[in-house]
Amino acid sequence: MKLLQRALGPATLVTLLGTFIMGMWVTPKATMLDGGGDLVRMLYVHPAVAWVALYVSFGTTTVASALYLWRRTRSVVMDRIAYCAMEVSALFIFLTLVTGSIWGRPAWGVWWAWDARLTSTAILGVFVLGYLALRRANGDPEARARRSAVFGILIALDIPIIHFAVVWWKTLHQSATVLNSTGNVLVHGSMLWTLLLSFVAFTLLFVWLLRFRYRLEVMRETSQQSRRDVAVAARQREGA
């Protein structure tokens, strides 16, 4: 386990570097009709970031929230995981929207469009900010954990809407390139391998960030508790 933890950082850096090198110099540029020339290189960033934001990171929060609400698995660890994963999710949702805009401007001709997928993703971003605001509100920690868990599950209802938006409605955003309903993968060769490598790289990045954020949260709680203990001891000494 320790070996895995130690290998996580280097593995993340290596896969990210591999994605960068492959994406910039090894993979060919696309035809103008199917990829937009060099614009295709955004394929190795935006889908992977979106994958982490919507499914990996948000999924972790949803599962941890559900496990917290279920009495058999309720623990402060689940609450911490849900909160830390949501913070990382906020970062990745922001990156999804930014990289999408950067890609959309030259590809579509607009920075933003109010189609179903983009709008529902933006709504999810606002919901995540609401979750973080809820966590920062003062109150009993257990009550706060329960509220956050309920809210985390409620807003997860947006995820299937985002995923299926390109199928249910006519949208400007294109449908899935790999996991589409026809089963045909619409990208091949080194482009496909680089795309898959980018998914692995950004997933490892998420795990790495979550691990560090979790450790920070534990240290913050411990420091808060020890500050409280020191203050109580000082008051008791004064009284003695």
Partner: protein
């Protein structure tokens, strides 16, 4: 009133069936929620969330559109693009080979070309007009990415492009 006999009786009391009722209710609620989603989508009640209308759809109810602003989607017909001082003029086609002439004002996006799906924002001059006046062109990119050098990339079935 509590008496000595009732205090000695420590046999377990059957709890009320609250948990079962609560679980049945939860399952019922989840079934209702899934049914709602199914009804909404199967009845096409959310079609107003479509970002655009296709050429075929727009032509089918052109009379009711009048001169209202819509987003129209079609494929740019090859050989019809004519760059003008204000923008471009071209034909877009639908799936049933209906065509609409588009007079677009404003610089087209970088990827604008023949055979590419586009979404144009604008309006027909009136219910009878066949020219679509557009003030914005958006390219609707497909989900496929094909390498510019086919000898490097080959599809699993051996075909290249």
């Amino acid at each position: 009133m509590v008496d000595d006999k009732s205090i000695d009786d420590l046999s377990p009391v059957t709890p009320p069936a609250v948990a079962n009722r609560s679980r049945r209710r939860s399952i019922g609620v989840i079934v209702v929620l899934i049914a709602i989603v199914g009804v909404l989508l199967s009845q096409g009640l959310l079609h107003s969330l479509n970002y655009f209308e296709t050429v075929d759809q727009a032509l089918a109810h052109k009379a009711s559109l009048g001169s209202s602003t819509i987003r129209l989607e079609g494929v740019v017909a090859p050989g019809t693009i004519k760059r003008t001082n204000q923008g471009a003029q071209f034909y877009i086609t639908g799936s049933k080979h209906h065509r609409v002439f588009v007079n677009a004002v404003g610089t087209p996006p970088e990827l604008f070309q023949a055979n590419i799906p586009v979404v144009v924002v604008g309006h027909f001059a009136n219910a009878a007009a066949m020219t679509f006046q557009s003030n914005q062109i958006m390219v609707k990119h497909s989900a496929s990415y094909i390498a510019a050098h086919p000898s490097r990339v080959r599809a699993p079935n051996g075909t290249t492009r």
